[in-house]
Amino acid sequence: MNELAITVIGRDRPGIVADVAEVLALLGANLTDSTMTRLRGHFAMTLICTGPAAAEVEAALAPLAAEGQLLATVRAVTPDGEVAPVGEPYVMAVHGSDRMGIVAAMTRVLVDAGGNVTDLSTRLAGSLYVVLAEVELPAGVADTLTDRLHRTAAELGVEVTLRPADPDLL
């Protein structure tokens, strides 16, 4: 079974999801994990699907891209299965004045502690920049990591908190 990583991005308009999903459905491509969201007026889709060959999907998406409004990429990937979690789930929240390099510096601190970012979003609201990251951390590193995050945040002039993710299941 072919596994494909597909990205589609373009100026937001009604119908992007329907157009792309229709193309994939007609080819017999099965959508598995995906995120589809609007980012400051652009619509971005990142998805994994199984079924047809990459070239076939690329050709089928070409007419959408040809209108100049959407950029689509298709790449065959190796199905690796689920990645085992490296440890405990945490949420890192960062906020402060927007400046260059906040995500780079803060995520580098996470990586250096053996952390694995599993989900991250950023928002710019006026001059306020917000980073929210879900990260898996090896057992026992949270306290020293919190100190390191505070030091890096202080250098950047932003605030940071690191909390265990809510483990509640409903």
């Binding site: 929240a93 906020h95 402060g96 989900d119 609201a125 929210l132 879900e134 605030e159």
Partner: protein
Amino acid sequence: MTGERSGPDGGRSVGTYVGLGDWTPESLAVPGEVRAVVSAPHPVLSRAGGEVDPTAEETVRLAADLVATMRVSPGCVGLAAPQVGVGARVFAVDVTGHPKAVTVHGTFVLCNARVVEATRWRPGREGCMSVPDLTGDVKRASRLVVEGEVPGSGDRVRLVTDGFEARALQHEIDHCDGLLFLDRVAGAHAVYQRKVYL
């Protein structure tokens, strides 16, 4: 804190309390002035506020100003001193008439407040006058006991509350600790662009 009013007034009841008595903002006996509300990013919002003398004249004036500013701000159910640029442990709360409120203590101001019991944690959406463009999902205790002092007399009060008033109190006490709701959001996708401005 700001709440999104979307329905008719919910049922209200008077909560159990010790010491708040018949305190009202009028007890302060000074007219409050509306102060400018500061927005994040601003350093005063990220610093823990200092303890205050609840009987000091400046504390009484600050309390009256917080009430006055809260009252002219649409949808505002609570306002803490750091939000008007003052690094002090003082805040005003009034959830009267809010559809999600159960126990309601009316308008009150607390100094040096701290949470002494917090149970029954529930998720909920919060906004904040100091983060005007975003809202977020935050888990808060829905049963809460808070101790503090009222401005003016300095009487110690112990407030037992629940639901939306409990959420508002925790949000304001967080402000006094230099925390925003952004510091407590549940996950990477738990912050939202505000759709309705009150």
